[in-house]
Each structure stands twice: as structure tokens, then as C-alpha cells.
Subunit: 347 residues, 4 copies
Amino acid sequence: MINFQIDYADGAHPDILAALMKANQIQTEGYQTDEYCQLAKQSIQKHLNALESEIYFLVGGTQTNLTFISHALRPYQAVLSASTGHVATTETGAIEATGHKIIEIISQDGKISLKQLEQTYNNYDGFHKVEPKLLYVSNPTELGTLYSKKELEALFNFCHQHEMYLYLDGARLGSALAASSNTMKLSDYAKLTDAFYIGGTKNGALFGEALVINHPSLQHQFYLSMKQKGALLAKGRSLGIQFIELFRQNLYFTIGQEANEMAQLLKEGLKTLNFSFLVETETNQLFPILPNSLIDYLHQRFNFLIWQAYDDTHSVVRFITSYVTTKQDVYELLSAIIQFKEKNALH
Amino acid sequence: MINFQIDYADGAHPDILAALMKANQIQTEGYQTDEYCQLAKQSIQKHLNALESEIYFLVGGTQTNLTFISHALRPYQAVLSASTGHVATTETGAIEATGHKIIEIISQDGKISLKQLEQTYNNYDGFHKVEPKLLYVSNPTELGTLYSKKELEALFNFCHQHEMYLYLDGARLGSALAASSNTMKLSDYAKLTDAFYIGGTKNGALFGEALVINHPSLQHQFYLSMKQKGALLAKGRSLGIQFIELFRQNLYFTIGQEANEMAQLLKEGLKTLNFSFLVETETNQLFPILPNSLIDYLHQRFNFLIWQAYDDTHSVVRFITSYVTTKQDVYELLSAIIQFKEKNALH
Amino acid sequence: MINFQIDYADGAHPDILAALMKANQIQTEGYQTDEYCQLAKQSIQKHLNALESEIYFLVGGTQTNLTFISHALRPYQAVLSASTGHVATTETGAIEATGHKIIEIISQDGKISLKQLEQTYNNYDGFHKVEPKLLYVSNPTELGTLYSKKELEALFNFCHQHEMYLYLDGARLGSALAASSNTMKLSDYAKLTDAFYIGGTKNGALFGEALVINHPSLQHQFYLSMKQKGALLAKGRSLGIQFIELFRQNLYFTIGQEANEMAQLLKEGLKTLNFSFLVETETNQLFPILPNSLIDYLHQRFNFLIWQAYDDTHSVVRFITSYVTTKQDVYELLSAIIQFKEKNALH
Amino acid sequence: MINFQIDYADGAHPDILAALMKANQIQTEGYQTDEYCQLAKQSIQKHLNALESEIYFLVGGTQTNLTFISHALRPYQAVLSASTGHVATTETGAIEATGHKIIEIISQDGKISLKQLEQTYNNYDGFHKVEPKLLYVSNPTELGTLYSKKELEALFNFCHQHEMYLYLDGARLGSALAASSNTMKLSDYAKLTDAFYIGGTKNGALFGEALVINHPSLQHQFYLSMKQKGALLAKGRSLGIQFIELFRQNLYFTIGQEANEMAQLLKEGLKTLNFSFLVETETNQLFPILPNSLIDYLHQRFNFLIWQAYDDTHSVVRFITSYVTTKQDVYELLSAIIQFKEKNALH
């Protein structure tokens, strides 16, 4: 089976595993108090041009989201998220389990507009309703789309005018940074969010996410929240070693680049074959609309997700690529589609 | 600095890292649905002689404790634990954060006796009080002591007569299994607990704990609790690969053995030097009582924990060993003590 | 100001206050273990023709909802509710604060159809998503509409086929029972729900709701949940005394009847004046669409809620009546509207 | 049966019921936004000589404790309480259910000394442990003992030096204020706590507690926490009306006075009969040590609590009095004891 289902199907990028191997015998303290973690933090702070930001390493995305959000909010405060947001859809109620409502803003393309934010915010007032306090956005979104710098700036300004936090889920930040239409530099994230995370798991790491907390008051006692949520890895060094390697040279960026290139190659191929898409994306996720018969055919040799029904005979699927996807993988998929079309004279 | 502070100061046992390396390029599905996890589960089930037990892999001990306990309990139910228990002392309120009271039973040696359990249990009745539902024990305990099979059997029988669960924290189970006085085989844990975990982090793994749920109704929907608590590693394969290696031959047991041997070597040395101990242990933790001046002296070259004050001039310290501790490390520590004694004519 | 804003603006029905007065000096045990509570429970069981159902008295609606729902659910389980449901809109995240997600089903008229329930339920599967376990419905709904017996039966059957609970919020059950189109007898609620509550606060009590738990396993240890949530009134007798009085003769039903009659009188008047309504209702809530200028005018002398904007110049308002609303109140409101229309020649 | 079991066995003080009756037909707004609540708040502020303190009315003690404490704390923060504290012993884990650990300080007499507070506080440091943030004390304590002004001042100063809150449970504050040895005026509570509550339920009200929040930042959004916890009574007026009456003249104080007098009368009688006590109290609770045979005999005609075993043949019991206890009740109890002693020649 060729994998277009997940972008974390391998172990780790070979350079990362080599770095873990190299440091393996050296003994360090635990819980991110070791030197590797210190170096990784400094390296990220430098890349962000934000020496006052604090960096924390966690193991996974859901863990990062629930630990940070529950740390930031008072019991009566809520999260605003696109209806497509990871926290709203695929975390088994992780945020609610820490006591907080997620107010969903209906979104078709994974993004929230300033107007939507305003309208929703204004619906919440009085003691019968939760206080909206944290805006959750993902970049790229769960639909592979991107916020422009201007759009994110508008959301961030609204948040600060209304004493809300803006938190950005960067599970696939590497792909966002490498997208051809991208207008957000890594350092912009330190300026336009109160906190965000740099996803490692989906960008070549064995595991690990680097949470960047820019808002000073949210840094206070964050280690206690991490420990309490089971999110403070005992052998924290493994996280430090990996993020040193990801940011030592350009590895974090090239991994995102390589994933995007394969997706765009596939996109061009699908367009040539006249398929249309749920949304237009320039990152490593594609959402083409395919006939159900074709989907069944492809599933014999390719792993990929059926995203949602489109009509009685078509569905939206998700093809996802990573730095381990090869041109050969893409061509085999496109060939299989052509073969099927020819056999079935697909309109 | 020579480390007697933690038994997880290194990366991973070389064999484990080699196994990760070997499987690195192979692509698998995520979230423990891959083949490595399946094989690891089967291997553990076989070692336990318990094919009906379910095995789940988590990343750390606190995470395992909070995920399992919150899964097992109704909102009004509570945990019974020794006052020295990890969940009671060093998890930053992780269990309470999931909504459950921990009823602490005062313990000097880390263990709970049947009589203590009975007395405490009988204090809880009526709707003004929580319902004690889960007995938490560690083996070895946080003080390095061991339950005998007979003792654990008595606790387990009481639990089942009173519809309570017995859950055992095996963070250092490798050390327990290898202790000279040990009477509990690995397979006994499947018979005498409702759930327990086989600690990897403190026994050579890069990270990871294998939770074994023996009680069938507690297996139901446990993956949902894992995901909700951020405890379901996306690249779950890494856990499977490590536990395959730990149980492929005797690695899990020899790692525990090696740790114990170094501790016992150190214990004999300390006894020869006439030091006494807070408790008698045969595992990889020692709790000698040292003069504070000696402690200061040793801290210049050795890392170790001050456990508690003993009197105005002495403290209990914890020396902990692992498979990476060498005889050379032990001898250097003993030499330094002798040197200090000679210089200061310590009684 | 004449009140059309809330149906709990007074103290209590005079008969209820008289009953409290009469029993005042008699001393009883606390926490609903007294004889008044026992008598009230038996009386309600008899009215329900359900001697196996258990009755619990709580102080308010939000308290009842959060105590019952958190008692019924496992951490990974969720509530299904209409987007207009009280738990989803006006309880300040009370359910989420106990750890549970509310899955909202978009509703225009306050009701959920079987088809909607099926579609939403089928979207939830796999360990990335919560398990839908409890369907929350209100009768009458927050929009004053009613479920027919047939509709409720269909929802209940679906729930039981899928091992879900059906819980019904009867904050205004008195009004539902007295509605002209009503097809649900009080005893039907014991047959077609797993639990529901008979609202007192909005039907003449000084305070108090009678929660009826029909499903045996949900009765287990419910007093512990009540105590834990601060929902077990120390002087529980006051609840028993009030519900004895409400169900001694027909008081509970006549109070609902009187509220409905005033609403229907007002509805007829508004229809004669050619106003249209957001939804058609036969209970004590009306949702007419009024010009904003008229709303401003009426607000000088009448209290009532603006429900939502309708268009640039009109809004939906809510007029609510209770047993203390008089014909005189209704006529004054209608007169004021006529007066305004004449003055402004409203189209 | 004559009641020495609870001090809330009746309905309400007749003056309070009369006040509820008088206001019954007047319609008001809901949720404590009505004029009665405003007047009651002003009246209490005046009695406290603390116009900046905010007053909130809740229905019961456990509800008040859990709502306030969960409002005040961040997830990683904990409560310090005497091991005898109501939150630690008889609230079915209510505080833990909101996510917070209670650190218990062992107490024989219900009180915490400054030294104990210091020692316990100093044990909590580092990210493996919760942050002690709120000191919970009761006055009178659950054992009927009293803090002196000097003692409370010392605790409060420690709290503020260490950025902790001091919260005082005044379930029986009326009894404390009326005790002969009392050194705390009502207005002192506004100066020496961050928040406290004036108990109504156990001091003549039908129900209700007045929570006084002195610390400004803890007042912020407290109505949202009340609503979320189901603690915001819809017909909030009933609470206002009752507290107006309790503080209109001296009713709150005389009710406490009357309860104390009956307890002290009983105490003198018991002392004459040579019984000793677990603790010396001057409030409305007595904890004499009685032979078990006498306890059995008395239980035929008197309700009272067995507090704890004392030795094989004796137990500590609790006799509690209220404003409805009569001299006749006390004499009957003493007579019964004498009778028993004579019959059995008790030493």
C-alpha cells in the first residue's frame, strides 16, 4: 500500500535519528532541565527573533492544545474555533474534558474571517453565557488552506482589543512556511499570536511539538500545568535533541518544502485530469472530489482518507504528502487514476 | 557529575535505539494500529500468560496513571493510596485535576497493609463522602520496598470483595522483578491486579509504559480516554518497536537486574561504613541516613536527592542506580565517603 | 412595568407558601431523608404510574441538568442537543465544566427530528471523536414548541437501539401538559425517557425541580453526585413540602393551564393585528416578529426579551406568561400595540 | 425523638417566613438582580463596614465552597485545609471534582496553627507539586472551636506574604459571633479574609448563604461561575428577602445567641455529671465522651451523631443545638442521662 493517508507514517527523518543516536550515552537531568533543551530553546528564540518568548516541548498536538488551553483559561471562559478545527473535531472532547466550551464558527475552508469572529463574539454577553477568551486557529488549517499575514493581523488585533488570546495550532507549520503563497515568516508568529506551536510530529520528528508562549502572564507556572496533564516527558532531552537538529540548519523548512512539492505535483496532475477540489490549497494536503467507484479502485493500492460525501456518487478525499513521499508514489497514483478513467470512460 | 539522582538520565538502551533505527524507514499506520504495536502486545500477553488482557502503550507514568484512573472512575469515586504514593506526592494534582479525591493512608515504608486498607475503607460511607473505588499501589514502592505475593493477594482479595479495583504502578517493575527477595512473577501481576503498567522509561526505553488492563469492563473505549487525555501517540509505532525489543529476549529483566546489582553493591559498602537506612530495600533505590556535612561534600561531584530531614544534623538521601551505573561510579561514591569520614573523623 | 419577561417573577403560589408555613415548626431530618420528601416521591411515582422510578429534588434547572448529566456519562461521552437547547445556550458552559462536549444539532424550532439525530449520530465514530451517549431534549422546547408522543417515541427508540440515554428537561413541563395540542400524558414521560425533570421554579414553586430517574443503573449513587455538586439541599424538606402541594390535587396542572391561557389570549390578539411569529406555539411562550420602533415603545411599560434580530427593522421578541399574568396585563399590552400602530400607521 | 443531631431541622425562623410571605405577590427580576437582593447586599456591606466588598447569595454551604474555590484557583493550585475541614471530610469530593487537590493538615481541635501552615507550605515547591494557593478555615470549626482574632490575623498575614488567599467557611458564623470568648466582630471578617460566607441555613434561614468577597480580583465574573455551577437561584429574591430580615435588626445574632445558650446549659449539666469532652467549645456544638451503653439508651429518644470511637467502650458524640432547642429539650436529655447512670451505677 502506498501512503497518502498520514504525514507521520515513518519513524523520523534520518538526521534526527542520527542526532538522538549521537547523544544517547550522555547522561542529563530530566524534565527539560537538561542542556539539549536549553540549546533548542535558544535556537528557536533566535529563529523567532523573540528572546522573551518561552519555549516548552511536548509530545503531541492534542496534548499541547489541551495543556495550553486549560492553563490559559478561567473555568467560565471558552474557546472560539472554526467548526473544522482540530480541537472541535478530532480530539475526543479533550478541551471540554478540561472544563471549557468550544464555540464553533461554521467554516467551509477551515478559516475564520474577522467578520465571523466579531459576530460570534458579540453573541456572548451576560452571566448565562460563557466568556469567549481564546481564539484557536490552525495554520495551515485542517483543510490545508492558509491565513495571510493581513488576515491573521486582523484577528490578532480584534483579540487584543477584546482581551482575548490568539492561539495558533502549527501541527503542519513547516508546510505553511514553505507554501508558495505564504506571507507569514516564522518570526511573524511570535508577533501575531499569544502562543503557537511548531509541529514536529508531522514534520520529520520522531515525536514532539515546540510550544511558544509569547504572552508573559501565560508563561507563569506552565511547567506545573505540563506535569499535571502528564505532558512533561521525563527524558525531556529527546525533545531538545530533535528540535536542535530541526533548527540547526534548514531541516524544518526543507521537510515542509519537500512535502508541499509532492502535493503540488499531484495537484497539477489531478487538474490536468479535470478533477475539481473542495478548496484550493498550496500546502501538503489536497481535497479533490472523486467518483466513489474510483475511490474504491484506488483503495486497493493506496491509503487515503474519505473526507466527506460530496453527492450521491462522489466524495471529497484527502491526499496528504510528506517528505517521504516520492515522485514515484505520485506518478503511481496518477497512473492508477488514468487507468481507471480509461477503463470506465469516466466523464 | 556522577548521577545517582535519576534512573532515566540516558537516552535509551543501545539495543532499543538500534531497533528504532532498523524500522525507521518503514511506513505504518498511526495511533498504535500498526503491526509493531500488535506484535508488542502479543509478546507481552504471552509473557503474562494472559491473552484476554489488553495492552496499551503510553508515553509516561503520570500520563498513564491519570488516563487510566480517570477512565475507571465515576465522578463520585476516589482513589486510596499510600501517603508516599506517586499519585499523591509528585504528580502536581494530576488525579484531582480529573475530578477525583485521593484518600491518603499514612505509610512509613511506602506500603499499605490489609489492616490499614480495611480501616480506611470503613470510614467511608454515606452520601457526604466519596466512594473508595480504586486502590493504587506501586511495586516497588516509591521507597524501594516490595510487596510480597501474599501481601498483594490479600489486598486484591479485599478489593474484589468490596467491588474495588486494584491498580499497580510499575514504573520500576523491572527492578521489582529482579530483586533477590521478589516473590511476584510477571504473570502474577495479570492475576492479582485489575490493571498495572510495565514501566519502560525507567528501565531502558527512550520513553514509554505498557499499560495492562486485565479487568474486561475497564478495557471498553480506553482508546477514547487515551486520545482525550493527549496520551495516544500519533507515531505509536515507536512504542511498539521498543517494547518488542524489551521483551524479545530478556532485556527488560536484565536491565532491572543490572540496576539492582549496582544498588546492592552500594548498599553493602554503606553498611560496612555503618550507615543506617530509612527502609531496607533490595531494588535500585537506597535511602541511607547521612550527616548533612557529608551530603554537602558529596554534592560537589555526585547528583542525588535529599529525601527528607532526619534530625538536626542528618538527612535521608536517595541514591538511585540504573543499568548505566557502573561499578566505577559506585566505588567513586564510596571512596568519596571514606575520604570525608577520614578527614572529619565521622563517628 | 408589566412583566412578560420571565415566568418566575413572583415568590410562590399562595397554596405552596401556606404549606411551607404550616409545616414550618415541625422538625425533620435533613437532606431529603425526611417524611415530606418521602410523601412527595410517592405522590409523584403514583402520578407517573412508575413505582420503580426514583425521584430526587433539586433547587434549579441548570443544577439539575449538570448534576444528572455528569452522573450519567463517562469522561469520553457527549451530549446531543438542539442548538437552541438550554444546556447549549444559557448555562455558562455548565455541562462542559463537568467535562463533557455538547454536540449541537442545528434547529430552527427548538426540536430535533429523528433524521437529524441519525445523521449526527452517524458522524461520530472512532477514537478521535467523543461517543454520543445522551440525547438532551426539552419539552416544551426553549422556543415553546412541543414534541408529539410519536416524535418522542421515535427518538427514544433510536436512543435505546444505540445504547444512548434520553434525558428530557421539563423546566416548563406544566405548560406542555396543559397545551391544547399536547399528546403526552405525565405518565408517558416515565415510559419514553431515561430521566426527566418536572420543573417547579417556572410553575409556581418558590424553587425546586423534581428529577425522575427511570433507568435503574442511573439511580445508583445519585445522592453522592448531588452532594458533590452542591445540589443536595440541607433543609431538603422544603422541596418535599412544595411538591406534595403541587401534586396533592391538580395545582401543578392548573398553574400550567393558567399560564397557557394568557399566552393564547395574547397570541389571538397579535394574530388579529396581523403579526407573524417565528414559530407557532401553544404553550406559555410566544415569539412574534415586531418592528423595532414598536419594541422600543413597549419597553417603556413592559418587560420582555428581544430574542433575535429578524431583519434590519424587525426583531423576534419573546412574550412569556405565567399563572400570575392577568387578562388585564394582556389587554394592556395589546392596547399599547394598537395605540402605537394607529399613531404610526404601521403597515 | 428530640433533635440534637442537626441545627437545621426546622423550616425557618418565623420572622423570615413572614418576610417571604409579605413580599410574595410582588414581581421582581430574576437572578439576584432584584431590589431585595440589592437591599440585602447594602445591609451586609454596612454591617461589615466594607462597601467595596461584594456580596453574593447562594443556596447551601457545599455549593458556596465549591463555587468560590473553583472560581479562585488556577488548575495547578491547591487548597490547604485542616484534616477536619468540611471540604476535606463531608462534601463528597466536591472540591476535587472541580479539579483541585486539598492538602490536609492534621488537626485534633479543628484549627490550623501558624506553625503548621508554615511547615506544610514549605513542603510544596517545584513542578512536581501543586501550588498551595488558598487556605480554607472554618469559624467556628467543625469541632465547635474558635479562632481568636490574633490567630486569624497571623494566618491572614502569612497568606498575604505568600500570595495565598484566606477563605473562611462561616456555616455557623452566628454561633461564633455570639460565643462568650469570641474576639472577632463581624466587620473583622471583612478585614482578615479574602472571602468568607455568612451561613444562613444553620442560623434560621429557610436556606441561603451570603458569600462576601473582599479581594477585588476575585469578584470579577463571579456571577458566571455561579451560573455555571448551578448556584444562581432563578428566584434569587428569596435569598435577598431572608438576609434583609436576618440583618434588619439583630436576628442573625440572637439566633446564634440562643443556640449557644442551650449548648452551654447542656455543657454545664454534663460537666456536673463528670463527663469529659473531646474539645472545649463555647459554641452550639458539644463533643462529650459517653459510654456506648449510654449512647444506645439515649438513641431511643434523642437524635444525635456518633462522632468517633474513643476507646473500646466509649465514643465521642456530637450534641448540637439551635434556636429551636428548648430548655425542656436540654433537661430531658440530662434527666435521661442521670436516670441511666442511676440504673447502671456508671462510674
